[in-house]
C-alpha cells in the first residue's frame, strides 16, 4: 500500500493532476440534479469510448480497399475468433450512440439547460450531434457492400444538385469519376481520423464546460433565468442545497453506463453484426438499397416530397435546421426553464419525434416502392377467379404479366405504390378503367403502347369483376342511353 502511495506521489509531483481532478469530481452540484434524467451525457461518452475501442479492434483486420474491404468483413464475421461479436458491438454501439445523443439533446432542450450561461455548451453539442451522424453515415460506408455502394450513389446524386459546383462536389466526394476504391479510402480517412479527432476535441470542450459552468439545476416552474442574476443564484443553490458530484451523483451515471454497455452487448449477441450484404459489384442490379436505421426517415422524405421541392429541401433544409439549432440559445437564452411552462418546446419535441417516427415507420415497408417480384411471385387470390369467364381470366393473366401487381395489391399482396384494386370496379366505370389503363395519369404510367386492344379488353373485363359481393360495380347511366344497348354496358354476369 505504502509503495503505491509513494508511486502515486512520485507521479503527481511531476504531473500535478491530482488536485485539479479532485476539484473537478468533487465540485458541488445542485442536489436535485442527481437524477436519472441526467445520465445520458455520460452514457454517450461511455458509448463513444466503446466505439473507439471496438473500432481500433476492427482496424486490426479490416482493409479499407475497394477490392478487399468486403472480404475482410467476411473474414471478421466467419474466420476471426469473435470478430463477429466485435463487429456487432461496433454496429449496435453506433445505433445506441445516435439514440442516446438524441435523447440527451431532447432532455437538455426540455430542461432549458441550453440557456445562459450554457449557450456554448449547447452549440458544441450541436456539432457533436452532426459529427455523430457523420460517423454513422461514414460507418455505413465502411461496410462496403451493396447498400453502402448505392447509398454512396444516393449521396452523390444529392450532392450533384448543388448549383454550379455540383459535379465538382461529386468528384471531390467520390475521389474520382465513379464510386470506387478511392471513395472508400476517403470515407475511411473521415471515419477513422478526421471526425473522431474532431469528436475527441469537442467532447473534451463539452465536458470542460459542464465542469466549469456546473450541471444545470433541476428546472423549477417560475424560477426565471436572468443574465444579471443567474450565476450568483446558481452558486447560492450549490452552497445551500449542493452535494459533491463524486460520489453523490456519479453512481447513477456509473450504473446507467454499465447498463447501456450490457444492452449493446446483448443486442450484439442476440442480433449479431450488420451485414455485409451483397458484394459492392455495380453490375449486380437486383438490389433494393436501404439506408441504416437512422437515415430511414430521410429515405422516406425523399420519396414523399413533391419533385419540385426536393432539391431546395435537400440543400436548404439541413442548413436551416443547423442554423436554427445554433441560434436557439441566443433566441431564448433567458426566461423559464421548466418544460411545464414551455408548451411550444414540448410540442416541438413531440412534433419532431412523431414526424421522424412516422417517416421511419413508413420507410420500413416503403409503400412508394414497386414490389419488383410481385407480378411473378404473388398469385391472384383464388376467390377473384371463381366463376369468371374466359375473358376475365385472360384479363387476370394480363394483370399479372404486365406487372400491374408491382404497384397494385390484390388481397393484401403486391405493391402499394398505386391504390389497392380489391374494389376498383366500385370506384371506376368501365370507360374510366379503359382511360386509366391506356393513358395513365395520377402517377401511373400510360400503357397504350404496351397493351393490344384485346389485352386491354381482357384486363378491363377482369378489373370490372373486382367489387365486394354485395356492391354493384360503378356504371355510367348515360353510356347505356347513348349506346342504346344494355348488353354492351359491361358484360356483368
Amino acid at each position: 500500500m505504502r509503495m503505491i502511495a509513494k508511486l502515486g506521489e512520485w507521479f503527481d509531483h511531476r504531473l500535478q493532476l491530482a488536485a485539479p481532478i479532485r476539484e473537478a469530481v468533487e465540485h458541488p452540484i445542485p442536489r436535485n440534479t442527481a437524477s436519472w434524467w441526467y445520465v445520458f451525457g455520460s452514457a454517450a461518452l461511455t458509448v463513444f469510448l466503446l466505439q473507439i475501442v471496438t473500432g481500433v479492434l476492427l482496424a486490426l483486420i479490416y482493409v479499407p480497399s475497394g477490392s478487399e474491404a468486403w472480404s475482410s468483413l467476411q473474414a471478421l464475421n466467419h474466420d476471426v475468433t469473435l470478430g463477429w461479436f466485435i463487429r456487432a458491438m461496433h454496429g449496435w454501439g453506433s445505433n445506441f450512440m445516435v439514440a442516446i445523443v438524441l435523447i440527451h439533446m431532447m432532455q437538455v432542450f426540455l430542461f432549458g439547460a441550453y440557456k445562459f450561461p450554457r449557450e456554448l455548451t449547447w452549440i458544441v453539442g450541436v456539432f457533436l450531434l452532426l459529427m455523430t451522424l457523420g460517423m454513422a453515415f461514414t460507418g455505413q460506408i465502411m461496410r462496403f457492400d451493396q447498400d453502402a455502394y448505392w447509398g454512396l450513389g444516393i449521396g452523390a446524386s444529392i450532392a450533384s444538385r448543388v448549383p454550379i459546383a455540383g459535379p465538382a462536389v461529386v468528384k471531390l466526394m467520390l475521389g474520382g469519376p465513379i464510386i470506387a476504391g478511392a471513395t472508400l479510402s476517403r470515407f475511411f480517412a473521415l471515419h477513422v481520423f478526421v471526425i473522431p479527432g474532431l469528436l475527441i476535441g469537442f467532447v473534451a470542450l463539452h465536458v470542460l464546460m459542464v465542469l466549469k459552468l456546473g450541471i444545470n439545476e433541476w428546472p423549477m416552474p417560475g424560477r426565471i433565468v436572468k443574465r444579471a442574476t443567474y450565476e450568483t443564484e446558481y452558486h447560492e443553490l450549490t452552497k445551500k442545497d449542493g452535494a459533491p458530484f463524486f460520489p453523490y451523483a456519479v453512481w447513477k451515471d456509473l450504473f446507467f453506463a454499465a447498463f447501456i454497455l450490457l444492452a449493446i452487448a446483448a443486442c450484439a449477441l442476440y442480433f449479431g453484426p450488420f451485414g455485409p450484404t451483397g458484394k459492392p459489384d455495380p453490375t449486380i442490379i437486383q438490389t433494393a438499397p436501404k439506408p441504416d436505421y437512422f437515415f430511414l426517415w430521410l429515405y422516406a422524405l425523399l420519396s414523399l416530397l413533391p419533385p419540385s421541392l426536393e432539391t431546395p429541401a435537400l440543400l436548404i433544409g439541413p442548413v436551416l435546421v443547423i442554423i436554427g439549432l445554433l441560434l436557439l440559445p441566443f433566441l431564448s437564452g433567458e426566461g423559464e426553464k421548466s418544460w411545464k411552462r414551455r408548451p411550444i418546446a414540448v410540442l416541438t419535441v413531440l412534433l419532431l419525434a412523431i414526424t421522424l417516427g412516422t417517416f421511419t415507420h413508413l420507410a420500413e415497408y416503403a409503400p412508394w416502392s414497386p414490389h419488383m417480384n410481385a407480378w411473378s411471385g404473388d398469385p391472384v387470390p383464388e376467390r377473384y377467379l371463381r366463376g369468371t369467364t374466359a375473358l376475365e381470366r385472360q384479363g387476370a393473366l394480363v394483370f399479372q404479366a404486365k406487372q400491374c401487381r408491382n404497384c397494385h395489391s390484390l388481397g393484401d399482396l403486391g405493391g402499394l405504390r398505386g391504390p389497392s384494386l380489391d374494389g376498383v370496379a366500385v370506384r371506376l366505370t368501365q370507360d374510366q378503367l379503359i382511360r386509366q389503363v391506356i393513358q395513365g395519369g395520377g402517377n401511373m404510367p400510360a400503357y397504350a403502347k404496351n397493351l393490344s386492344p384485346a389485352e386491354t379488353t381482357a384486363l378491363v373485363a377482369f378489373l370490372r369483376t373486382l367489387h365486394p359481393p354485395g356492391q354493384a360495380p360503378a356504371r355510367d347511366a348515360a353510356r347505356e342511353v347513348a349506346l342504346g344497348d344494355e348488353k354492351r354496358s359491361g358484360g356483368q354476369p
Binding site: E68, A156, S157, P167, G181, I285, W368
Partner: protein, 204 residues
C-alpha cells in the same frame, strides 16, 4: 510572460549603435526587438504555410482537376451489335475506363442497351435520374422501374411516373465496325455531367 516584457523593453531601447533597432524605433517607437522578430517569425510561418497550401490543395482537389474537360470519359465498346436483338432492351456491362489498383469490382458498370432498329441504339445508365438507384427493365410492360422511390420510365427512357424530374441518363453511343460503343467514365448524377445530358445519340 509579464516578466519577459518588462525585461525586454529596457534592454531593447538602450542598445546604441544598432542600425536596425534605431530604424525600428523611428518607424514605430512601440515595437521591441523581440516583438519584431516574433512578428517576422509569424510572417515567415505564414509564407511557408501559404507555399505548402498550394500542393496540399492541389492534391485534395486532384479528383476534380484531373477530370476537367471530360478527361475521365472515353469510348467503351459494349459488344457486337448482333448481341442485341432489334426492338429489345438488354443489360450490358463494361469496365469503367478510369481504374485505380484498389477499385476491385466497383469498376464494373451496368447499362441498358436498347436496339431500336438497325444501327439505331439507345444506351441508358442503370442509375435512376432521381437518386441513382439501379433501375430494372420489365419487357412485358415496357417499363424501367426503380426499387428505391418508385421512379418509372418508358422504353425510350422518358419519365413515366414517380419522383424523377427527367428521363433516364443516356450515354452517347455509336456503332463502329459492328461494335456498339458508348462514351462513359463518370457516375451519372441528376446534377448533370455534360456528356450524359438528354440529347439524341449521334446516330439518331
Amino acid at each position: 510572460m509579464s516578466n519577459e516584457t518588462l525585461n525586454a523593453t529596457p534592454t531593447a531601447t538602450p542598445i546604441p549603435t544598432s542600425d536596425e533597432s534605431s530604424k525600428d524605433a523611428s518607424n514605430d517607437p512601440g515595437i521591441s526587438r523581440r516583438g519584431f522578430f516574433m512578428k517576422l517569425g509569424i510572417l515567415f510561418n505564414g509564407l511557408v504555410a501559404a507555399a505548402l497550401a498550394v500542393p496540399i490543395t492541389r492534391f485534395l482537389l486532384s479528383s476534380i482537376t484531373r477530370g476537367s474537360g471530360n478527361a475521365y470519359l472515353s469510348w467503351v465498346p459494349l459488344g457486337s451489335v448482333n448481341e442485341f436483338p432489334e426492338g429489345e432492351t438488354r443489360l450490358a456491362t463494361f469496365q469503367n475506363p478510369y481504374v485505380m489498383p484498389t477499385d476491385g469490382k466497383t469498376v464494373g458498370t451496368a447499362c441498358w442497351v436498347r436496339r431500336v432498329e438497325g444501327d439505331h441504339f439507345q444506351v441508358f445508365a442503370v442509375n435512376c435520374a432521381h437518386l441513382g438507384c439501379p433501375v430494372r427493365w420489365f419487357p412485358q410492360s415496357g417499363l424501367f422501374m426503380c426499387p428505391c422511390h418508385g421512379g418509372a420510365y418508358y422504353r425510350d427512357g422518358s419519365r413515366a411516373s414517380g419522383p424523377p424530374e427527367r428521363g433516364l441518363f443516356e450515354y452517347p453511343s455509336k456503332v463502329e465496325n459492328g461494335l456498339i460503343t458508348i462514351q462513359a467514365g463518370e457516375l451519372p448524377t441528376p446534377g448533370g455531367t455534360a456528356a450524359l445530358a438528354t440529347r439524341k445519340p449521334p446516330c439518331a
